[in-house]
Amino acid sequence: MPASSEWIIKDQTVVSNSWRILEAEVGVDELADMEQQAIIVPLDFWLAERSTLQARKGQTGVWLDSNEKPGSLIVDSAFDINDIPLIAVNFPVFSDGRGYSTARALRQNLGYKGDLMAVGDVLRDQVFFLKRCGFNILMPRADQDAEIMLTAFADFKTGYQASIDQPEPLFRRR
C-alpha cells in the first residue's frame, strides 16, 4: 500500500498534503474517527461501501492499484465519474508502467476531469511522462527531493505524441 506523505506536487507546485491514503482493512470505527479528513480508499472498499462513504463530511477519493482497471469505477450507467474528487493510481514499483495507461484511459476514455494523483514509487525521472499522461498531482516516494522533482517538468520542451496535456500531436502543430 502506498504511504501518505507530508507534501505533494499539485499542478507543478509543492503544497502540503491533506489526503490520507487508507488500506483495505479500514474498520467502520476508524472511518468515523476520520469524519472530516480527506481520505483515499482502495477500490474494493470504495465499491463495497459507497453509501457510507457518500455520507461522510470529508472528501473521499479512491485509489487503483496497478492491476486495477479504471472501468471498474463505473458502477452503473447513472454514475458520473466526475463526482469523485480525486483518483489515485498506485505505482508499486516505478518500472510498472500500467499506471500510465490507467491515467490516460481515465482522462481520455472516461472523461475524468478531477484530480488524478500518482502515488507509490513515484520518482523524479518519471515525472515528465506522468504529467503527460494526465496526472496533475504527484505524491513522491518519501526520499524524493521536492526541488529536484520540480526540475523534471522541464525535461522536454514538447513531445511528438498526442497526450493528455497536449492533445494535438506534433505533426498537427509543426
Binding site: K69, D96, N109, F128, F156, T158, P169, F171, R172
Partner: protein
C-alpha cells in the same frame, strides 16, 4: 532521408541534457542501480562482460555519410576502433566508458543521431527492408511510415515502461527482407481493391526463448489510422501483458494466452475510443514525410551498361562479386550494391573506423551520400550507376570490403556472443569463423543461397530460429555446446527451424555443417535452394547423417 527540424533538434538536446543529469546523479550515488537501469537502457547503455556497451539507433537502417563519419569518430575516440552492426539495423560499441556516454550522445546529436530506446522495455528501433525505395517491385516505400512510427514511439509517455521490449517492422517490398513476421508488430504495406494504401497488421511474432510467427489481426488498416491503431495495440499490451515473469512478458505470450480473436477484439474496442481523433494521420504529414524519401537526382541512363558488360567479361573475380552482391534497381542503369561485412577473419557485422570512413566516402562518391544497414548486418549502397560498379569494387578491395558471399552460408547473422555479452551461454564469433574457414569460396557458391544464423544464448539476438541452419549456444554443466536447427526462414514464408538432435561441441560444428550441406547437395533436385530441399525431405536424412543409428539417443561427446 529524414532531416531534423527545430523540434527534432530540441528533443535531442533535451534528451542529452537529461541523460547527462541522470548519469551525474547516478555517479554521485543519488540514483540506485535499479533506478538508473531503465534510464540507461533507454539510452542504449548496457553493462557488459568487459565494459559498458552502447547501442546507437540507426532509424530503419538509413545512414548518411556524415553520420557514418561520426560513428567512425566515436569508434576511434571512445572505443577500440570498431563497431558492430546489429539485427535491428543499429550499431553498437563495446568499449565506451559510462562517464563519457553523455559526451558521445552529444556528438551523435550533432548529426541527428541518438541511442534512444535501443534497449529497455520500450518500443525499439523500427526496421524495414534495406531495399525500400529502390526495389523494382515494391508496393510503396515504407520509410515515410517508419519515420512516422519513429516519432510516435520516441518518448511515448504511456509506453516507456512496458512489460518487455517491443519491436516493430514495416515492409513495403514484395520480397520481405525485414523478417517482418517475427516482430511484436509486423506491418505489410498493401493496397485494397480501391487502390488505397494501408497495412496488413500482424501481432505477436518474436524470437527469443519462445519463437512465434505473428498472427494477422487486421487484413487492411487504412494508412491514416496507423498511429491510433498502434496506440490501441500497445495500450492493451501495456495493461494486460504479463509482468510476473520476464520470459512470459512479450506480447506473443499475451496473444497466445488471450487467443488471437479475443486479443483483436480488445484492440478494436480500444481503437474505437481513439479512432478519428487527433492521432489520425493528416495527408499533409504523410506528404511531408514522403518528401524526405523522394528519389535522388538520378541520371537518365540506358538500361544496360557497356562498361559493366566489358568488366564482367574481363574479370572473373568482379563477375563473382557482381553475381552475388549486386541487385536489380528500379531505375535503368542503376544497381543496388551490398557491402558484405562477413569476410572470414573478421567478426560478422564488425566494421573498423577506417572502413566506416571509407564506406562514407564511397557513399558520397557513388550513392548520393547515403547508405543502409541491413538486419543481416551488412551495408547497402542503394543507388550506384552500373557504369561505376567496377570502380567501386576495386575501391572496396583496398579496405577488405569486397567479400562476395552475400546470401551464402558464410554471410551469417551472428550475435557478439560470449566474447562480449554478459547474457551469452557460449561464444558465437569463433564458431562463425570456424565454419567460414571450412568452406572454399567455390564450395559456397556451389551450395548457393543458404542463411546460417548463430545466437550465443536463447535470447536469440542472432535470429537462429529463422536461419535455414540455426546454431544456438547452450550451457551444459559449465561447458559450451551448440544446438543445431534446420529449415528456418525469415522470408515471406517465415518458418521456425526444427532442432536436429542433441547439441554438439564447438570442435564438431564445422563437420556438422559440412554433413548437413552434403545431405542437401545429394538430395537437391533442379535448382532447389537449401530450404526447399529441407521442406521436401524433412529432418530425417539430416539426422541420419549426423547421428547415424544412434540418432536422438546419443549423449554429446565431451570436447
Amino acid at each position: 532521408m529524414y532531416r531534423y527540424d527545430q523540434y527534432d533538434h530540441q528533443m535531442l538536446a533535451d534528451r542529452v541534457a537529461q541523460f547527462r543529469d541522470q548519469t551525474q546523479r547516478y555517479l554521485a550515488g543519488q540514483l540506485s542501480d535499479a533506478e538508473f537501469l531503465p534510464l540507461r537502457l533507454q539510452n542504449g547503455l548496457y553493462i557488459q562482460r568487459l565494459a559498458p556497451m552502447l547501442r546507437i539507433a540507426i532509424p530503419y537502417g538509413m545512414l548518411s555519410s556524415r553520420q557514418m563519419r561520426k560513428l567512425a569518430y566515436i569508434a576511434d575516440h571512445y572505443d577500440k576502433g570498431y563497431g558492430h552492426l546489429t539485427t535491428r539495423q543499429n550499431i553498437q560499441f563495446n568499449w565506451p566508458h559510462l562517464e563519457e556516454v553523455p559526451d558521445i550522445l552529444e556528438h551523435l546529436a550533432e548529426v541527428e543521431m541518438h541511442a534512444i530506446q535501443t534497449s529497455g522495455n520500450c518500443i525499439r528501433n523500427t526496421t524495414t527492408d534495406q531495399f525500400a525505395g529502390v526495389s523494382a517491385d515494391e508496393i510503396t516505400d515504407a520509410r515515410p511510415y517508419c519515420e512516422i512510427i519513429r516519432q510516435w514511439s520516441t518518448f511515448h509517455p504511456e509506453f516507456a515502461y512496458l512489460p518487455r521490449k517491443f519491436k516493430i517492422a514495416v515492409c513495403g517490398t514484395r520480397h520481405d527482407q525485414a523478417a517482418t513476421q517475427v516482430h511484436d508488430i509486423g506491418l505489410y504495406m498493401v493496397r485494397n481493391a480501391a487502390g488505397e494504401l494501408g497495412f496488413r497488421v500482424l501481432v505477436g511474432g518474436g524470437l527469443g526463448r519462445t519463437p512465434v510467427i505473428g498472427s494477422e489481426i487486421r487484413s487492411f488498416l487504412p494508412e491514416q489510422h496507423l498511429l491510433s491503431y498502434l496506440d490501441a495495440i500497445l495500450r492493451v499490451y501495456n495493461q494486460e501483458g504479463r509482468r510476473d515473469n520476464k520470459y512470459k512478458a512479450r506480447i506473443k505470450i499475451l496473444v497466445r494466452e488471450t487467443g488471437v480473436e479475443q486479443f483483436r477484439d480488445k484492440v478494436e474496442a480500444e481503437w474505437l475510443t481513439v479512432k478519428d481523433g487527433p492521432m489520425t494521420l493528416t495527408q499533409d504529414e504523410v506528404v511531408r514525410c514522403r518528401g524526405f524519401f523522394h528519389d535522388p537526382d538520378y541520371k537518365d541512363l540506358p538500361a544496360s551498361s557497356e562498361l559493366l558488360k566489358r568488366a564482367l567479361g574481363g574479370d572473373v573475380m568482379f563477375a563473382a562479386w557482381h553475381d552475388q552482391n549486386v541487385s536489380a534497381h528500379k531505375r535503368p542503369g542503376y544497381a543496388i550494391v551490398t557491402i558484405c561485412a562477413k569476410k572470414t577473419g573478421y567478426a560478422p557485422g564488425d566494421l573498423d573506423a577506417a572502413q566506416m570512413q571509407f564506406i562514407a566516402d564511397l557513399a558520397d562518391q557513388y550513392s548520393f551520400g547515403e547508405m543502409r544497414i541491413t538486419h543481416t548486418q551488412n551495408v547497402v549502397l542503394a543507388d550506384v550507376e552500373q557504369d561505376k560498379l567496377y570502380d567501386l569494387w576495386q575501391a572496396l578491395k583496398t579496405h577488405d570490403l569486397q567479400a562476395d558471399n552475400l546470401g551464402l552460408l558464410s554471410d551469417m547473422i551472428c550475435c557478439p556472443g560470449g566474447d562480449f555479452c554478459a547474457l551469452a551461454n557460449a561464444k558465437s564469433i569463433p564458431i562463425a569463423e570456424s565454419i567460414q574457414r571450412r568452406f572454399s569460396h567455390a564450395e559456397l557458391r556451389e551450395i548457393g543461397k543458404l542463411s546460417l544464423n548463430i545466437s550465443g544464448c536463447m535470447n536469440a539476438c542472432g535470429h537462429h530460429h529463422v536461419g535455414n541452419i540455426g546454431i544456438l549456444g547452450v550451457d551444459k554443466k559449465g561447458e559450451e555446446f551448440y544446438q543445431v536447427s534446420l529449415g528456418g526462414s525469415a522470408s515471406n514464408e517465415t518458418a521456425l527451424g526444427k532442432i536436429v538432435g542433441p547439441a554438439f561441441s564447438q570442435d564438431e560444428i564445422p563437420d556438422v555443417i559440412e554433413k548437413i550441406v552434403s545431405v542437401y547437395k545429394q538430395q537437391r533436385s533442379g535448382g532447389e535452394e537449401f530450404v526447399e530441399t529441407f521442406n521436401r525431405i524433412g529432418l530425417d536424412p539430416f539426422k541420419a547423417a549426423l547421428y547415424g543409428d544412434k540418432s536422438n539417443s546419443r549423449a554429446p561427446r565431451q570436447a
